[in-house]
Symmetry: C2
Subunit: 314 residues, 2 copies
């Protein structure tokens, strides 16, 4: 059955039925959702996945798309040192989309929402010529959110996990839509580093960002916001060996959703120890400086041009 | 110049430059926006406009699209008796979109945001094969939000303003993209009834919804949520004469974004008097009953089938 046969109202009913019901709050079914503010300080982010740009139906299932659409938003909230709370979903569907795809997508969304402790409280459905799944996510901010702008010369630069796996998986899927393995899993079902961010609440993070566009560009953004530089040695960058990634994929691939953060060098050991409790490694990859951002002695922005740009790469 | 030439980073800079800067809050430029919760109870809604479905570039300017994308979300918040506060924007653009369109769209967005007291605090940009502009809007809820489910038998059913103008304008634009006049203005630049909703805070609203899909379907939704019926006489429905609308456009056209609400009959006079202060008329169009919803004695759902359905109508 296709969504055009089911109709908008039928689709809303399908979605509503599949989503957990609220207790003493108003979620789906009114003009807006109503709920208690999760804290006195809020965080708000939005990120959208577009068919043909962010995923391809030849290799991604509905559940993959639903999972990732939520996870990438949770990653942004985690990178602020905040807690995700309530989300609204925007789904645009070509009329000939199979209802089973939508059903599958909700399964992935609900699975991710449950895993990250997010309530799906509303949304919007529209027709379109390609599938897009957008999330807007409200969370509880801390009184000292991790901004990109807080890095200070002398701080250590660290990253969770390993990089380049997602891009390696995408390459594998592009060559063979039936490809499997660790790299493919990292691309289709990335894990937001929420537990790791919670653990890092125990140390003095000065700045953070999630690695969504590649280490080179995201580090550049953090340093640019902090008006600082860095010295990075590419030999120290944790390349995702389990996913057979290369250094190039780690630097320019993107979508790894690891946390890139800065903190005083004296706290790196404690940070690593706290995050080890989540089964995740922390690697110190360099230092913040007052000079220019450099990678192996070369200006970082010379590397940036090779990173992903949604609008140019089409 | 086209957006593919400007690139994602250039486009983000263009947007950031055009949007008002925050004072002591973090908006655009980090992984998420951070700001104080506007109240202890929040409302959250999202609505997206898709090219070819919700607007057509043959007649809508970028400023029209930007304005309307925000106004329709404010309308949802107003229909909860709540105050809009912070918004994030999702913009999907074909690479050959003119940068001037985007610039124009921001003008309309900023104009609407300023008019409705909304801060634009972040967003997401992606490529896509058609233009979509989505907004997610957080607001301050009251302790007694106007749900759809609160209508009680005996309540009066009222509507602000007049209906059918937007659809009439759309018909005019479809026939002649250069059409002008009141109906066209209502379609391209609808006004969210925020001032009117604030004024109605002075009476005991039992249920409310905004008229986005046509009076017949939206009244049906309110009554269905309230498990109640109604008696409506079509002769009493305020048809938008200034826009030369017909009763059919009022019932099935949609996108008028008037407030449809219920309250005790003894408070209708006071409601009309309060809303008159905004220069807007309130019309009592019928009563809530414990029977079936009827219009001119016929079941309301017999009329519903003629309403707008995003996915079927393509």
């Amino acid at each position: 059955m296709r969504v055009s046969e089911l109709g908008e109202q039928g689709l809303i009913e399908l979605l509503t039925e599949r989503l957990p019901r609220p207790v003493a709050e108003t979620w789906i079914g009114d003009d807006a959702a109503v709920f208690p503010a999760p804290s006195e300080r809020l965080v708000l982010t939005t990120d959208t996945m577009v068919e043909g740009i962010d995923f391809d139906l030849s290799y991604a299932s509905g559940a993959d798309v639903g999972w990732k659409a939520l996870a990438v938003n949770v990653s942004d909230i985690a990178a602020m040192g905040a807690e995700p709370s309530k989300a609204v979903i925007t789904v645009c569907l070509p009329p000939d989309t199979e209802v089973s795809f939508v059903d599958d997508m909700i399964t992935g969304l609900v699975e991710a929402a449950s895993g990250y402790g997010v309530d799906l409280v509303g949304g919007d459905i529209s027709a379109a010529s390609e599938i897009t799944v957008g999330i807007a996510l409200v969370g509880s901010g801390s009184n000292a959110p991790w901004l990109r702008s807080g890095a200070r010369p002398g701080d250590s630069i660290c990253v969770t996990g390993a990089l380049g796996g997602s891009y390696t998986g995408l390459q594998a899927l592009s060559a063979d839509p039936g490809a499997t393995g660790e790299a493919v899993r990292r691309h289709l079902r990335p894990d937001a580093r929420l537990s790791e961010a919670r653990a890092l609440g125990g140390v003095g993070i000065s700045a953070a960002i999630d690695v969504s566009d590649g280490l080179a560009i995201d580090l550049g953004r953090l340093l640019s916001a902090s008006r600082a530089g860095c010295e990075i040695d590419s030999g120290g960058i944790p390349v995702d060996a389990a996913a057979s990634a290369t250094l190039e994929a780690a630097l320019y691939g993107g979508e790894d959703f690891e946390l890139l953060f800065t903190l005083p060098p004296s706290e790196v050991g404690e940070a690593a120890s706290l995050v080890a409790g989540c089964g995740t490694v922390v690697t110190e990859i360099g230092r913040v400086t007052s000079g220019a951002p450099t990678l192996d002695g070369l200006p970082l922005d010379r590397h940036e041009e090779r990173s992903w740009d949604h609008l140019r790469n089409r």
